[in-house]
């Protein structure tokens, strides 16, 4: 079947991103919004907008019945969930099937397998992928036993989590009880599933993920992305390809991702996340959705992943646009967030008064901002993604430095100045840093800031 009218069950930049592709393909868009977003730029951009509930996401963007009801009421033949919210919720896939609406995403079974991180670990093992030592723990005593067995420090992860949420490092037995409690708290509140599991903590790993796409029969990969610049497990910078990675590791990652997709007979877009430690790598999780950082892959491979996602949802086999795509050059993305990075990254909701972005060759900005746009406290803090593409990493980085100077967002605090510092740093410029590097870099900047304050001078 053809998707003619698509309901987008999301907000912010990804809603705008999906609409772009729809407009190009001649697909009509219906945007399902909460009351807080009814006048947002995405609501103005959509062909039609329907309010599905109040600002509280639990009663709007996370309400399966409200979303499917809106699709039926507006005659939409498909639902695109974006990322976050209901994107990986098997209940939405099931409700779509029951209502005769196409769900743009994997099958209900695949979502369940990916969403239960322990089940996903099991599939990874079955498909021959390496995983970190670990397993489920039901209480603090069991956690203590397992941690002693696999060795400290350990990571506590939410079984229903992913995307870095509900994940905490525990250095030693003394912190274990409190951390398990808090992890279960976050998991219960965020995913309605308080189960947690442990994995051995790797101090100097890199976060590298592989983009896959499947049609239920065939699975292909579109290279990897390095997402090692993170703070508290939230990605800030992503690039493709991963710099300073050995050919054998790179090929191994690609093959492992495809093997995992085949094991699930995967249908849709997915991202297989790995921890790379030297020449070794370990499966972390499968993200069964379009990823925030998908534009770096699009830039390097010259594909429109949302268009391919729609084609797969229509039941078509993988198209040559995808299977014949080859990589060229290097792309880097920065996530511009509404947070005050000089005050512990405190979230900064408010109203945007100015939004100016760079334009030109090799520069892409995905955003939902314009003057007057509100940044509500109810949702995440992503304001815009700045993506640059160059012939090689040095060219992309040079382009990024220039592009950053041409971004201006007024009305809310943003982390833009942080990227100006980051892209000037020689170790970042050299490439291939691990996930421990960025927190150290922030600490170093903090130290500099204090010193400047003491001396009463700036660096000009």
């Amino acid at each position: 079947m053809m998707v003619r009218r698509l309901l987008i069950a999301n907000r912010g930049e990804i809603a705008v991103r999906i609409m772009r592709t729809c407009r190009r393909l001649g697909v009509e868009t219906v945007l399902a919004v909460s009351a807080a977003d009814r006048d947002s730029p995405p609501a103005r951009l959509a062909d039609r907008t329907v309010v599905i509930g109040p600002a509280d996401p639990a009663r709007s963007y996370l309400d399966v019945d409200a979303v499917v009801g809106a699709a039926r009421a507006t005659g939409a033949d498909a639902i695109h969930p974006g990322y976050g919210f209901l994107a990986e919720n098997p209940r939405l896939a099931a409700a779509c099937a029951a209502a005769g609406v196409v769900f743009v995403g994997p099958t209900e079974t695949q979502l369940a397998a990916a969403g239960d991180k322990l089940a996903a670990r099991g599939h990874a093992v079955a498909a021959g992928l390496p995983v970190l030592p670990g397993g489920e723990v039901r209480d603090v005593r069991a956690a203590r036993r397992l941690a002693d067995e696999i060795g400290w420090p350990v990571l506590v992860k939410a079984v229903g989590g992913g995307g870095g949420r509900g994940m905490k490092k525990v250095g030693g037995p003394a912190e274990l009880a409190d951390t398990i409690e808090l992890a279960m708290a976050e998991a219960g509140a965020a995913f309605a599933d308080p189960r947690v599991y442990l994995e051995r903590f790797v101090p100097a790993g890199r976060h590298v993920e592989v983009q896959i796409a499947g049609d239920g029969e065939r699975v292909v990969q579109l290279g990897e992305r390095d997402c090692s610049i993170q703070r508290r497990y939230q990605k800030l910078v992503e690039e493709a390809p991963a710099p300073c990675l050995g050919d054998a590791v790179r090929a191994g990652l690609h093959a492992a991702a495809v093997a995992f997709g085949r094991r699930l007979r995967y249908r849709g877009l997915g991202t297989v996340e790995f921890l790379v430690d030297g020449d070794a790598f370990y499966f972390l999780e499968l993200n069964a959705r379009i990823q925030v950082e998908h534009p770096v892959t699009e830039a390097v491979y010259g594909v429109d992943l949302v268009a391919e996602q729609l084609a797969i949802a229509e039941g078509r086999p993988l198209r040559p646009e995808l299977t014949a795509a080859t990589p060229a050059g290097h792309a880097i993305e920065c996530r511009i967030n509404a947070e005050d990075w000089t005050h512990g990254f405190r979230p900064s909701p408010g109203t945007v008064t100015a939004a100016v972005f760079p334009a030109g060759d090799g520069v892409r900005v995905d955003t939902h901002l314009q003057p007057g746009a509100r940044v509500p406290p109810h949702y995440d803090s992503l304001l815009a993604k700045l993506i640059v593409h160059g012939a090689d990493r040095a060219a992309a980085l040079e382009r990024l430095r220039g592009a950053l100077t041409r971004c201006r967002i007024d009305g809310v605090s943003t982390n833009l100045p942080m990227y100006a510092e980051l892209t000037r740093h020689p170790e970042f410029a050299a490439g291939g840093v691990d996930t421990a590097w960025f927190p150290g870099f922030l600490g170093f900047l903090g130290f500099l800031g204090d010193r400047q304050g003491d001396e009463g001078g700036g660096r000009g």
Partner: protein, 168 residues
């Protein structure tokens, strides 16, 4: 914003061959300003002008979907003024930032504190979720909890009084 990046790039290619440093486009549905800086590089500022084409459907049957009920319901929760300060020397526990207040570490669990409990400065009395981040709320004062003013899962403004504590 109705234009894609490719559209903007095509316009810029055209402009690059011309002596202009600024282009302003405005239609009924959008406004776009392109400016060339001293370094020859371009910036864009876009704005969607069209009003949302909002549909009335049975799906928006939530009683409070149409209004700003969240903000409205909050005004009597001590968000602005400090009437609580006047109450017989009671100490206030205030929200460190705006967001959803949770009294318990997870759904179904025992609340962090109940009326009558003793708290220290560092006792965690709740969680505020803002932009998906869970922020624990320390009491910040010592004493006995005498009143809890914001219910579980209610929205709290920054500095809203969450609890009243009698100094011990």
């Amino acid at each position: 914003m109705n234009l894609t990046d490719d559209d903007v790039r095509d316009i810029l290619r055209l402009l690059d061959s011309l002596p202009f440093t600024e282009l302003r486009l405005e239609t009924d549905s959008f406004r776009l300003a392109l400016r060339r800086g001293a370094d020859g590089e371009w910036t864009q500022a876009g704005e969607v002008l069209s009003a949302p084409n909002e549909l009335e459907t049975g799906a928006s049957a939530h009683p409070d979907a149409g209004g700003h009920a969240d903000a409205g319901a909050n005004t009597d929760k001590g968000g602005g003024g400090s009437p609580a300060a006047a109450r017989d020397g009671l100490l206030e526990v205030r929200a460190p930032l705006l967001g959803t207040f949770y009294r318990a570490p997870r759904p179904g669990a025992e609340p962090f504190v109940e009326v009558g409990d003793l708290v220290e400065e560092h006792t965690v009395v709740g969680i505020i979720e803002t932009m998906k981040l869970m922020n624990s709320v320390p009491a910040g004062v010592r004493g006995k909890v005498v009143e809890i003013l914001v219910a579980n899962a209610e929205f709290a403004e920054r500095d809203a009084v969450l609890m009243l504590v009698a100094p011990e």
